[in-house]
């Protein structure tokens, strides 16, 4: 009889554990999905809402890209963090989910610039800011909620499921986009089909809201509230009191800044490098990233669980150090694998097709060159030259240097190189899982319950949003700086790696010197 009662109690505990993790993780995954589809469809969105010939709309496009990523997210962290420490975790991260889902759904419904003019980019810009705000509030809530339900020895394992969501969110967004694109065809997808992934979000959010509504408040916060010990001003307590501020700074400079750059390099810079420096074809490059992400995802849980045994610090710092040392060799191998100069061209298979057509008052010449290489690589170069028929306009554009043809380079790699690329990206994803897997548990454990949501959200979103979010911008700039002339290739295509290497190296030194490894078994109070 006693055994039966124990078994029932254990079964209930396991079910409850799974529900807490599922309710938090699914919602966070959907938020990431919502955030990423905007980025993944940035080119189409730009054509629909932000026409290049309207400078204000083009400026809004730039702001929408950057502001949502690194300005609004920390504000979201402060706003919702404060709310979460005053009214509770459950309702706050329910609100962030509804805002994110509502904004994403609405983006899918906004008429294009051709239909409603300037109102279109303005509405999309506001909705994008709301997305950033909601994302800023979501992660801290989910991580805190799960951590406050978990026992001391299993906090790294439990919260690691939250850590998988950012990667899975990217994977799901790429998957949905590729499926819709394949099903509808490129033309229909570019015309209206791109709205489907946005509209689909509302159903995912509805399911997640339903699950979260059924959950109870975090036990630690509920206890605090019952005793009347919640913070009246979490912002002041978090950032004006020296004892807490010093931990916020330590979390940022010793952990989240390095984690942010390692994460962005492994997931986003790798994709951009494949497409722009290695010229790997769009679908193949996305497959490389997707396969590496899906193989690498279980490692979040592995390193999260391992951090419960050997400590958060050792795993996070090892991930940063290995990343710092290995980035240049890895990217050199990626570059060499796709470098056409080192491959043998089968010259009798080279084809050149030239097509001339009239487009309004312009003449468009499209030259497509296809090449085959001995190792199985195929290469396609499309050059589009648009020249005005009016000689005066042509001379004017020529003088302004605006008559440059558009060139698109696409290399399709053979299977052996495809698998090698997956392996090289996978190694980077494993670095990501080392620094990212244990970090939620680490952040939760260094701040007290009464101000935890606020205190952990800010360093996380500055680390990821600002330091990590700037990887594409700064790295591209560093590569451009090595370009000897406007139309010449960069002298060092790997120069972009110096930014993540430098930030991760400083973070490694600060983390190793100042962070304690004794946090893994702390009782959070």
């Amino acid at each position: 009889m006693a055994n039966d009662v124990t078994n029932v109690s254990q079964t209930e505990e396991v079910t409850s554990t799974r529900r807490v993790i599922a309710a938090s993780s699914v919602g966070t995954l959907i938020e990431w999905y919502d955030f990423y589809i905007f980025g993944s469809l940035a080119k189409i969105i730009s054509e629909q809402f932000f026409p290049k010939d309207n400078p204000t709309a083009a400026l809004l496009a730039t702001l929408a890209t950057f502001a949502a990523g690194f300005v609004v997210r920390p504000f979201g962290a402060l706003f919702f963090g404060r709310l979460g420490d005053i009214i509770g975790r459950k309702y706050t991260f329910l609100v962030t989910l509804v805002i994110m889902g509502g904004s994403t759904f609405a983006i899918g419904l906004v008429p294009g610039y051709k239909t409603i003019g300037f109102l279109a980019p303005a509405i999309v810009f506001i909705l994008r800011l709301l997305q950033g705000l909601a994302l800023g509030g979501e992660y801290g809530g989910a991580a805190t909620y799960v951590a406050e339900h978990s026992p001391a020895g299993k906090r790294g394992f439990w919260t690691s499921f939250i850590q998988t969501t950012a990667t899975l969110g990217l994977f799901v967004s790429l998957g949905v986009i590729l499926i819709v694109r394949q099903t509808l065809g490129i033309e229909a997808f570019t015309d209206w089909g791109w709205r489907v992934p946005f509209i689909l979000s509302v159903f995912l959010v509805a399911i997640s809201v339903y699950i979260r509504m059924k959950m109870s408040e975090s036990p630690l916060f509920a206890k605090l509230k019952k005793e009347g010990k919640t913070s009246a001003n979490p912002l002041a307590e978090s950032f004006q009191k020296k004892d807490n501020l010093k931990m916020v700074l330590l979390a940022l400079l010793g952990a989240t800044a390095g984690q942010g750059v390692v994460w962005y390099t492994g997931q986003f810079y790798a994709l951009s490098f494949l497409q722009n420096a290695c010229n790997v074809e769009f679908v193949q490059s996305n497959y490389i990233i997707s396969v590496a992400l899906i193989i690498g995802t279980p490692f979040f849980v592995l390193f999260g669980a391992l951090s419960d045994k050997i400590g958060r610090k050792y795993i996070m710092m090892a991930g940063m150090l290995i990343a710092v040392l290995a980035y240049r060799p890895i990217y050199t191998m990626m570059y060499d694998e796709a470098n056409l100069k080192t491959k043998t061209e089968i010259t009798d298979q080279t084809k050149v097709e030239v097509k001339k057509e009239l487009k309004g008052t312009d003449s468009l010449t499209t030259t497509v060159t296809t090449k085959a290489f001995a190792d199985g690589t195929t290469y396609k170069e499309t050059v589009k030259a648009t020249v005005p028929l009016d000689p005066a306009k042509k001379a004017e554009l020529e003088a302004a240097g605006k008559l440059k043809p558009e060139t698109k380079k696409e290399a399709t790699l053979p299977q052996s190189s495809f698998y090698k690329m997956i392996g090289l990206v996978l190694i980077q994803v494993i670095f990501v899982t080392m620094v990212y897997g244990p970090i939620a548990a680490f952040l939760v454990e260094i701040f007290p319950t009464r101000i935890r949501y606020t205190s952990m959200s800010l360093p996380y979103h500055i680390g990821n949003g600002v330091f990590g979010g700037l990887v594409p911008l700064i790295s591209t700039r560093l590569v451009e700086a090595t370009r000897p002339g406007p139309d010449l290739p960069p002298a060092d295509p790997l120069a972009g790696l110096w930014y993540p290497i430098l930030i991760a190296a400083i973070c490694f030194v600060i983390g190793s010197l100042y962070i304690s490894n004794k946090t893994n078994n702390l009782d959070v109070e």
């Binding site: 010093k246 700074l249 330590l250 700037l470 911008l473 100042y514 962070i515």
Partner: protein, 74 residues
């Protein structure tokens, strides 16, 4: 260990303070050489967003470290 933490603290604070003039000088130099919109946006982000965050956090962190605030964390 405590002495190393304090000496390193001085390094972080100096680094944080040094970044401000370096970033501003580099921005002025690059914008003067090529005053394109792209350049303006890039350096605005670096000067308005990144530099204050890095400087404030490094200086404050360095001062805390110098005062021995992190000595109790083993």
């Amino acid at each position: 260990m405590s002495a190393i933490k304090k000496i390193a603290g001085l390094l972080w604070a100096v680094m944080g303070a040094g970044i401000i003039p370096l970033a501003i000088m580099q921005a002025m130099k690059e914008i003067a050489t090529k005053p394109s919109e792209e350049n303006w946006i890039f350096w605005s982000i670096v000067i308005v967003v990144l530099t204050p965050i890095i400087s404030f956090s490094l200086i404050t962190f360095g001062v805390f470290a110098l005062k021995g605030e992190y000595d109790t964390i083993e």
